[in-house]
Amino acid sequence: MPQAITDKDGVKRYLITLNVNGDAKTVLVKGNAILTNVLRDELDLTGTKKGCELGDCGSCTILLDGKPVDSCLMLAVEADGREITTIEGVAANGRLDAIQESMINHAAVQCGYCTPGMVLSAKALLTRNPHPTEPEVREAIAGNLCRCTGYVHIVEAVLAASQGRTAPADH
């Protein structure tokens, strides 16, 4: 259990360290603080979105030790000491990841609200299964709801990225 600090009103807070996108961030949080809110409000990582706060939409997807999870279903204290990748950590040194580039080129982004979660779910998939089939891609993003695209271009984009292409076939 992380170190606890109690203020003069008797409210207990915990000193936790989140390893976010390669940086160790130490924050003081209440026991009931949701991980999404800590990332967004304390660390200004607002690329992690909130669409439902119930685990339904996947907008708040992050990678926790490499695995995609809905950060709205986690307490910040549970993530103490763990490795977190948010959407802000996907592009390295200003270079987009192949999935990101492919998403742009395939017009797989419309309003973009689901996009960070989609990118991270796809990233996790391609890391564990570099050459997925179409049903495997659909399965991997089934926890990420998109109201704009019917998933058509998103699935195309992820498949293309897995084949080392980032431009659509009709380009």
Partner: protein, 768 residues
């Protein structure tokens, strides 16, 4: 109409793509301001109740609470979106009218304190009987949702064109069917959010809005302020689909809380509150009668509808008119009667959802038309081709149709889906259905009465010519208008898309535009942008003419190069000419504005449904049904759209996919459900049943090669049209597979299973 376009017609990547894929794009709820407070609204737990008293004293004492407001603290003026029926108050005064109606609001130092403060507000209610079933809302003795609206009638429409009774009397075959639609919700993934702040007498609101202009107008009106003192800014927006078209309690209450506290206030809905605010698709009861000749040619149609408006009007008057106005679009007939009652109930208000008012009537009409075709033994595709609207025609309700390739859409989708083959060979349990749709390319008239242009734009070429910024009030809600309009600007200027910048949807900086609704941006905002771009080009060519000592009409500008049409080698770059212009004449600016021509007839309600151009489309879907369980598997969907010139093919097909996705959900899965107290039973995305990636079938989307003579470069609608055929298409595919017709939406597995069971029982009785 030369097709030598350099920038339009290409699938350039979205201008906002990099920001969106990296998480850098800021949506309203991502913004923070120094000293910002959080605000929440207290809503009614009852569907219908008198407010006896409200006691806020305990809430005010809670540490961290900075303001608590009720109806006593806000203007009493009623607001709404449809000027003919402003019927909503910022906070309820005498009574609440649905579960979720606004009662009070708090501003606190953090979100957690807000929830605690809301719990401490004591409201005493006298619960009243509620109207929950819209079919009985007009009955004698029903409680009244609004005392001033007798029999709960919000809107009543009676229109007749031609002589319907005579045509029906003379028809070879007359048939009547009844269908019922369900209430659905737009469910954008981004929840509504607003941040309000004051500087002296000036109010600024960042909002997840589809129309900064309408927000500005209605908010200024509510607070009695000059419009110039209200600034509305739309940051990135996470989907609207009609649900973010009108100002909500978030903006009104937020503005008052910010004034009271002197601090910025962020107000927001969570997912359940979004469902409660609603403004989704009206449930409709639809009785349709048509008379046809022996070949299935439609001679007359009668539509007798009723719709559940919920507790307030929202944009519902327009929805009610749209339901009937767009029915005679895809098929030609002269005699048409439309009767409609939109009634109040003690449920959340309904409004404009993608396809506005039209998808459910289309479901009814397309299902009915297949029944007629079956009666006459005609192929469903043939009956549609036989009746398909032709270009340069006028509908019975006086809408002028210019370009129209309804017939070609049907023929192409027939081919592409393998219709004839499948019709012959599909086994029992497998079925194929077809339906058509049409939609406006922008509304012919604004929502409130004004003679202002519908869209305006200006373009500033930077002093060294290496970039140009488009300023537009248009609103990218995800559909991609920022990208499309930059392509159009670059094309008109003779510039490069890659050098375009855009500033959009900020009422203080960008010129007027009515926003994202009624599928209007590419056409209307595009017309203004094209004009602005051409003004730039003209000034550039004039300057180049002096620089090259050649007549301006011998010069052309394409992709950043100005050249002589007659003399090889005589050219200048856009940059050097633009720079010269700046040095000699000052800023290089282009301006444009668009006002639609006068449209429509003179009967009551003639304005709704008018548009300078209409899109058309046809869809085929194939389903497979498990007879044991009623489970429906969608095998494939084919869509062909007549949407005029295509500016960006990938973005265009993305619109079709999204519209189809919404229509598919509404066909079989989506429905907002209520308990017997008027509380929503499934105000969550999973239980509302948004479809996931594994639920989606292969979708093939194509266009016909069409050109709309009134549109910039020949463009017209795409964003909503593809929702219109989908519901009817599924109904027909299920009918084809099983020989049973489900007469209400959604066409759930259970309903299909029950219909099959009834059919079997009937067959057994006959056999016995």
């Amino acid at each position: 109409m030369s097709d030598n376009h350099k920038v339009i017609g290409r699938s350039v990547p979205r201008i906002d793509g990099p920001e969106k894929v990296t998480g850098a794009a800021k949506y309203t709820g991502d913004l923070k301001f120094p000293n910002m407070l959080y605000g929440k609204i207290l809503t009614s737990p009852h569907a219908h109740a008198r407010i006896i008293s409200i006691d806020t004293s305990e809430a005010e004492k809670l540490p961290g609470v900075k303001a608590v407001i009720t109806h006593k603290d806000v203007p009493e003026l009623k607001y709404g979106l449809s000027p003919a029926r402003w019927d909503e108050n910022i906070f309820c005064i005498d009574k609440v009218r649905f579960v979720g109606d606004k009662v009070a609001a708090v501003a606190c130092v953090d979100e957690e304190t807000c929830y605690r403060a809301l719990k401490l507000i004591k409201v005493e209610y006298e619960v009243l009987p509620a109207v929950l079933d819209f079919r009985h809302a007009m009955d004698e003795g029903q409680p009244l949702v609004h005392e001033e609206y007798e029999r709960n009638i919000n809107t009543e429409i009676h229109q007749e064109f031609g002589d319907v009774d005579k045509a029906l009397a003379e028809a070879h075959h007359v048939r009547t069917d009844v269908f019922v639609g369900q209430r659905t919700y737009q469910a954008p993934i981004e929840p509504h959010s607003a941040i309000s702040m004051w500087e002296g007498e000036k109010l600024t609101i960042y909002s997840s809005t589809q129309s900064p202009h309408y927000f500005q107008y209605y908010i200024a009106r509510e607070f009695g302020m000059p419009m110039g003192d209200v600034r509305i800014i739309k940051p990135y927006l996470g989907g609207g689909f009609g649900g973010k078209l009108e100002p909500t309690g978030l903006e009104f209450a937020g503005a008052v809380l910010a004034k009271r506290t002197g601090r910025p206030v962020r107000t927001f809905y969570d997912r359940a509150e979004m469902f409660a605010h609603n403004r989704g698709r009206h449930a409709q009861y639809m009785e349709i009668t048509t008379g046809v000749d022996k070949d299935g040619k439609i001679l007359a149609a009668k539509a007798n509808f009723m719709m559940d408006g919920g507790a307030y009007t929202s944009l519902g008057i327009a929805s009610a008119y749209y339901a009937g106005a767009l029915l005679p679009m895809t098929y030609e007939f002269d005699n048409y009667q439309f009767d409609m009652f939109r009634v109040y109930t003690n449920l959340p208000a309904c409004g404009a959802q993608r396809g506005h008012g039209a998808p459910q009537p289309k479901y009814a009409f397309e299902s009915h038309l297949d029944n007629v075709a079956a009666d006459l033994g005609i192929d469903p595709m043939d009956i549609r081709i036989r009746n398909a609207r032709r270009p340069d025609t006028v509908t019975p309700n006086d809408f002028r149709v210019n370009s129209c390739m309804m017939r070609e859409c049907l023929e192409q989708v027939r081919e592409m889906s393998g219709w004839d083959e499948k019709k012959k060979n599909l086994p029992h349990g497998r079925g194929i259905g077809v339906a058509t749709g049409s939609f406006v390319t922008g509304a012919g008239y604004p929502i409130y009465r004004t003679d202002l242009p519908h869209a305006a734009a200006f373009i500033k070429v930077h002093e060294d010519g290496t970039a140009a910024t488009l300023y537009t009030g248009s609103v990218d809600i995800g559909q991609g208008s920022d990208t499309i309009l930059c392509q159009m600007a670059a094309e008109a200027m003779g510039y490069r898309y890659e050098q375009m910048k855009i500033v959009a949807a900020d009422t203080e900086i960008t010129p007027l535009d009515f926003g994202a609704y009624a599928s209007r941006q590419t056409y209307m905002s595009g017309a203004a942008v094209k004009q602005a771009g051409e003004e730039i080009k003209k000034q550039l060519l004039d300057m180049a003419s002096t620089m090259l000592s050649l007549p301006a009409d011998d010069l052309e500008c394409e992709e950043g190069v100005i050249f002589s049409k007659s003399r090889e080698g005589k050219s200048l770059t856009f940059e050097e000419v633009a720079r010269k212009h700046f040095v000699l004449k000052g800023p290089l600016l282009g301006r444009g504005a668009y006002t639609p021509p006068k449209l429509g007839g003179s009967f009551k309600g003639a304005a709704v449904g008018t548009s300078p151009a209409y899109s058309f489309g046809a869809q085929v879907g194939e389903v497979s049904i498990d007879e044991e369980t009623g489970e429906i598997t969608v095998v494939g969907i084919w869509d062909v759209h007549d949407c005029g010139k295509v500016i960006n093919p990938r973005l265009l097909h993305g619109q079709v996919h999204g519209a189809l996705y919404m229509g598919m959900g509404e066909s079989v899965w989506e429905e907002v459900l209520f308990d017997d107290k008027g509380r929503i039973r499934n105000a969550e995305l999973a239980n509302y049943r948004l479809l996931t990636a594994v639920d989606m079938p292969p979708i093939q989307s194509e266009v016909v090669n069409s050109y709309e003579p009134t549109g910039p470069w020949g463009v017209k609608e795409v964003g909503e049209g593809a929702t219109n055929p989908t519901l009817g298409m599924f109904s027909n595919a299920i009918f084809d597979a099983m020989g049973v017709r489900v007469n209400s939406l959604p066409l759930t597995y259970e309903k299909v299973w029950r219909a099959l069971k009834e059919k079997r029982e009937k067959e057994e009785t006959i056999a016995a």
